[in-house]
């Protein structure tokens, strides 16, 4: 049974399948595993960050610090490895601890100081970006045997495509995210808070702990996205990934999650990421289009989805009203 609340997700999925079909009609090569593999690898860091963003938006919040935290993590990791000769694993661990604590702090401010998430994470965005500049304003390249090994690890598809380690990390994050959202009490609490925070509190949901964990999760995944981004570009740069949080939000919304919270699926975000990647790939294949077309198409899609969500809400309210009328 398709709930009305899952309709946006189904729509996105349908749009993706149709769009992919049309692309393949024009460029049969787009069906190759090589293209699919690249699409996954290119969007791995964005996808990981978008999973965290989905939890945040499901709870009715927003996290604007994502792009800055990615940049900070990447510079931090690059400097640790490149300048201080720390083992990559240690650097990764340190970066994840920092980004998670950063998320915790923002969550605690949102909950206990009752400051809107928009404001707190906006401050977090400036803070993390500034901290990234503080670490280094240069682009810091990294070379390390261990990293080469990591980048050399992949599964070969038939047809020459590669499922790289980075893509695998993203797929695992999505899989875990789906299970956490739909099959754990934490996930249920996130939906509850997004539905109505007062009701959730009166029903005994630990709102404080859950809020902190949501932003900690988003911080952790931003850190992980930062590490993946560092590996992807083999460097750290404090000016990188400006506005990535907005791409993540776009993927979440296109994937059918309501910006007001309480309704949405992690799987939807995955399709949202794939759709964005598909548009970029198409532009590359076409060769004549400006890359700005990605933004334009995503903008149009966002409008369409927001209107679609409104319509669905309006329609289901109306249906309910009609039914109650009949009962009377």
């Amino acid at each position: 049974m398709i709930h009305a609340r899952n309709l946006p997700f189904v729509t996105t999925l349908a749009i993706f399948v149709i769009a992919y079909g049309l692309c393949v009609l024009q460029f049969p090569n787009m069906l190759s595993t090589r293209v699919i593999g690249n699409l996954l690898t290119d969007n791995a860091f964005l996808g990981i960050a978008a999973v965290g963003m989905t939890f945040v938006i499901l709870s009715g919040g927003i996290d604007l610090s994502v792009g800055s935290v990615i940049a900070f993590t990447s510079v931090f990791v690059a400097v640790m490895i490149g300048s201080f000769g720390v083992h990559p694993l240690t650097a990764f661990l340190a970066a994840l601890v920092i980004s998670t604590l950063f998320g915790c702090l923002m969550g605690a401010m949102i909950r206990y100081l009752l400051i809107p998430p928009f404001v707190v994470t906006l401050a977090g965005m400036f803070l993390a970006r500034g901290a990234a500049y503080l670490v280094s304003t240069q682009s810091v390249p990294i070379t390390h045997e261990f990293i080469d090994t990591m980048l050399g690890f992949y599964i070969r598809f038939p047809g020459g495509g590669r499922l790289t380690l980075l893509a695998m990390v993203m797929l695992v994050v999505f899989a875990v995210g789906i299970v956490v959202a739909s099959r754990t009490r934490f996930g249920a609490n996130v939906y509850a808070i997004g539905g109505n925070i007062q009701s959730a509190e009166l029903m005994g949901v630990p709102v404080g702990a859950t809020t902190i964990r949501i932003y900690a999760l988003s911080g952790f995944l931003s850190g992980l996205a930062g590490i993946v981004y560092t590996l992807y570009t083999s460097s750290g740069y404090s000016l990188a990934t400006v506005g990535v949080e907005l791409d993540a939000i776009a993927a979440v919304v296109i994937g059918g999650t309501l910006l007001t919270g309480g309704v949405g699926l992690i799987a939807g975000t995955f399709v949202g990421i794939l759709l964005q990647g598909l548009i970029q790939t198409y532009i590359v294949f076409d060769g004549t289009l400006s890359s700005w077309w990605t933004k334009i198409v995503i903008g149009i899609l966002l409008f369409v989805f927001i209107v679609l969500q409104r319509t669905i809400i309006w329609y289901s309210d109306r249906r309910l009203a009609v039914r109650q009328l009949k009962e009377v």
Binding site: M1, H3, A4, R5, V179, S182, R183, T184, R185, A188, N189, Y191, A192, G194, G195, N196, Q198, S199, A200, E201, L202, M203, G204, V205, P206, G262, V263, S316, L320, A321, R323, Q324, L325, E327, V328
Partner: protein, 513 residues
């Protein structure tokens, strides 16, 4: 055996000397409350008497300043709703209840989902939800979203959750406020069944008929103090009301019922709506309103009562018909246009549509006048203070503090402030949608009295109410709605509660198709 004897001696829930202040203003003072198992206990009092505060202390929402709470004779101190729930005290609130974006099963088991290997076991959750709801006579799809069910069913789901979760004490805050008679009956059947099973039930309500129908005992609070606790069968209704009001009964609503004055055809209609209607909202109707007349609108929930008000006030645009004021045709296409024609409207949803919670009482009162004058001509703050003070005095708004944010006032006093908001604009037509909903008897009588006074001053009123006795008491004429059509107009001797009910049911000589 001895253990059993011991437990019989202890009340199920006992609160002693409870005290609580907000911002230095005492809300509860030395209040005792005792609930036995297998008892339905009504908690009564006027608005602002401290009922909600007491409930919120018992259920862990507020922390008490003084006093002790015993459950089965053991001292408890719930610091959160979750803790009160695990102790055995479950609550069903009137407004904020369950979560509409989750399914029925998810709502029932939120926070205590059955798990297997650390993961939520959806199948077990579904099965247990079904068996749980069947005990309450509900055979519904537990995987459907909560938002697809009516308020009555949601309430039963909330009760099922609270009892299953806590099992000892069930607190119901105004459970019947938005239910129709049939649904109330169903709810009471469930409550009696729970009483048989030994659950102690606390019920807050302002429907005294229901108190006498369902409750075993009542506890009455007034101004934050305990007035008394009685067995209902030994308490005549008049005594109960005087306990609640604490004053001699002079103006109970029923006194006004004695022969409503009939406005004869002397006065010419000053406001006329002809063939006025909107597709999908209300079928076209004619409505003439004379100066100083109270026109009542009756009908069941969803019959088009509020929609009629929305049309009259321009919130919804009519797509047929004309409006005439003193012989001149006017276009009421928006609330602004309605206000410019000196109409006023107190909506049904006071909290969401009426008050601006964070603004002070004075600001809330000045709102409509400011809108009428336009935003370029600001009301001076001294003028605002004068207005506020005079209405706080004449309407007896309590506490008499014009600077207090209105959200800290009780429902009855908020309603008075909204009335004041429109009265300062000196409207020719005031539309009141459920003016006495959620309001205690004292404020109720005062508001009805005020309605009478206003129309004696020449103001016309349209009063929408689901309380038929109230309508027959104040209205000169009553329009009856059914299925979004005006099916009857009653006045004079026809104007009785029976007459209205018959008109709604479509029997008698009405033109209902």
């Amino acid at each position: 055996m001895r253990d059993e004897d011991m437990s019989v001696q202890h009340a199920l829930l006992e609160a002693r000397g409870i005290g609580k202040s907000f911002f230095g203003i005492p809300a509860l003072d030395e209040v005792d409350f005792t609930l036995q198992g297998g008892e339905i206990h009504a908690l009564l009092g006027e608005n602002g008497a401290g009922k909600s505060t007491l409930i919120k202390i018992l259920t862990g929402v507020y922390r008490r300043d003084r006093g002790t709470i015993y459950l089965h004779g053991n001292e408890v101190s719930p610091d959160s709703v979750a803790e009160a729930q695990t102790l055995g005290i479950g609550t069903v609130y009137q407004e904020v209840n369950l979560l509409e974006n989750l399914t029925v099963a998810e709502n029932l088991f939120l926070g205590r989902q059955p798990r297997r290997f650390g993961m939520i076991d959806r199948r077990t959750m579904r099965d247990r939800s079904k068996t749980l709801l069947q005990r309450y006579g509900l055979n519904i799809d537990v995987d459907a979203l909560l938002s697809s069910f009516s308020v009555a069913i949601r309430q039963l789901i909330a009760i099922a959750r609270a009892v299953d979760l806590s099992g000892k004490v069930l607190v119901l805050d105004e459970p019947t406020a938005s239910l129709d008679a049939h649904e109330v009956k169903g709810l009471f059947t469930v409550l009696r069944q729970l009483r048989e099973e030994g659950v102690g039930i606390v019920i807050i309500t302002h429907f005294l008929d229901q108190v006498y129908e369902i409750a075993d005992r009542v506890t009455v609070l007034r101004n934050g103090r305990l007035v008394g606790s009685r067995t209902i069968s030994e308490l005549p209704r008049l005594d109960l009301i005087s306990m609640m009001l604490g004053r001699e009964l002079q103006h109970i609503t029923r006194d006004h019922q004695a022969e409503p004055e009939t406005v004869d055809d002397r006065g010419a209609p000053s406001i006329q709506f002809q063939n006025y209607g909107k597709k999908g909202s209300v079928a076209p109707f004619d409505l003439d309103i004379r100066p100083g007349e109270v026109v009542g609108i009756a009908g069941l929930l969803g019959s088009g009562r509020s929609e009629t008000a929305f049309l009259l006030f321009g919130i919804d645009r009519a797509d047929s018909g004309t409006a005439t004021i003193d012989g001149e045709q006017v276009a009421i296409t928006s609330p602004e246009a309605a206000i410019a024609n000196r109409f006023g409207f107190c909506p049904e949803e006071r909290k969401t549509d009426g008050i601006v919670g964070d603004l002070s009482v004075a600001d809330n009162i000045a709102l409509a006048l400011q809108a009428q004058r336009g935003w370029m001509r600001l009301i001076s703050s001294s003028h605002k203070r004068e207005l506020a003070d005079s209405f706080i005095k004449s309407l007896d708004i309590r506490p008499a503090d014009r600077e207090r944010p209105i959200k800290f006032l009780s429902g009855g006093n908020q309603q008075k402030a909204i009335l004041a908001r429109w009265l300062v604009t000196e409207p020719r037509l005031l539309i009141l949608d459920e003016p006495t909903r959620g309001i205690d008897i004292g404020a109720h009588a005062e508001i009805l009295k005020m309605i009478e006074r206003l129309c004696s001053e020449g103001m016309s009123l349209v009063v929408i109410s689901s309380e038929l006795e109230e309508l027959t008491a104040v209205a000169h004429r009553v329009i009856v709605l059914s299925d979004r059509r005006h099916v009857a107009e009653l006045s004079g001797r026809q104007l009785t509660t029976d007459g209205i009910i018959r008109a709604i049911a479509g029997t008698g000589e009405t033109e209902a198709a």
